[in-house]
Amino acid sequence: MERRVEVRVDPDGSVHTEFVGFLGDQCMEAAEEMRRVLKSYGLSLECVHFHEKAPEELAQEVPEGVWKRSKTRLPQQ
C-alpha cells in the first residue's frame, strides 16, 4: 500500500505535514525520522498543532481490513 507524506510550506516558512496510509506506530516513527533528517539539514521544527486522525478519516485512506489489523496490539513479551 502506498504511503504518502504531504508537506505544505507557507509563506512564512511554517510547515504543515499530513501522513497518509501509515499503519499503527509507523506514522509516528516516520515523522520522528523525518524531523531528525530535517534537523541534520538545518531545519529545526517546533510542533504547534497535532491532530491524530479519527477512525472515519483513517477508513478513507486505508482499506478497512488492514486498518482493523493495525489496531490489534500484540501482548508484551
Partner: protein
C-alpha cells in the same frame, strides 16, 4: 495511525555549533546558498556576502541576497556558538515590508528544499509544486511517496 501536524520552523546549522566545522562543511549551508540562488534567479537579484545600510555603507556577512525590490539586501549570519541563522538588514525608511517579505521567502525556500532533500535521503519519491493560499501568497507543496 496517520496524523496531521503543524510546525514553526527555524534554521540551525548544528554541525557548526556542535562539531565546530567550517560553514562549508555543514549540509544546511549548501541548502541555504541554493535557496538564495533560486530566489536570486526568480527575483532578478544577486547572492553576495555583504549588504548595505541606510547610509550606503557596505557590511560584510556570511551570505546575502540583494534584489531590485530591496537593494540594501538581506544578510545571513550564522552564530558559531549555537548554529542559529539570523537575518540581518537595515530597513529604515520605506523598506519594512520588503525586508520582511524577503526574509519570509528565504525561510520558505530553505524549508521546501530541506524537506525535498530529507525525502530523498529517506528514499521517498519527491514531487514539488507551487500554489497560492487564500490571500494569493505563494505556498509550496512537497510530496513524498513510498
Amino acid at each position: 495511525m496517520s496524523h496531521i501536524a503543524s510546525y514553526k520552523s527555524k534554521i540551525v546549522l548544528e554541525r557548526v555549533a556542535e562539531e565546530g566545522v567550517p560553514l562549508q562543511q555543514d549540509p544546511g549551508w549548501h541548502l541555504l546558498r541554493e535557496a538564495l540562488e533560486t530566489l536570486a534567479d526568480e527575483l532578478g537579484g544577486e547572492v553576495t556576502d555583504y549588504i548595505y545600510d541606510y547610509f550606503g555603507r557596505r557590511r560584510k556577512c556570511d551570505l546575502a541576497l540583494i534584489t531590485p525590490l530591496f537593494p540594501r539586501g538581506v544578510g545571513i549570519e550564522v552564530r558559531r556558538t549555537t548554529g542559529e541563522v539570523m537575518f540581518l538588514y537595515d530597513d529604515y525608511g520605506d523598506y519594512q515590508g520588503a525586508s520582511r517579505h524577503l526574509c519570509d521567502r528565504i525561510m520558505q525556500s530553505f524549508a521546501a528544499l530541506a524537506v525535498a532533500r530529507a525525502f530523498q535521503t529517506l528514499n521517498y519519491e519527491v514531487e514539488m509544486e507551487q500554489g497560492r493560499n487564500r490571500y494569493g501568497e505563494r505556498t509550496i507543496l512537497v510530496r513524498g511517496v513510498q
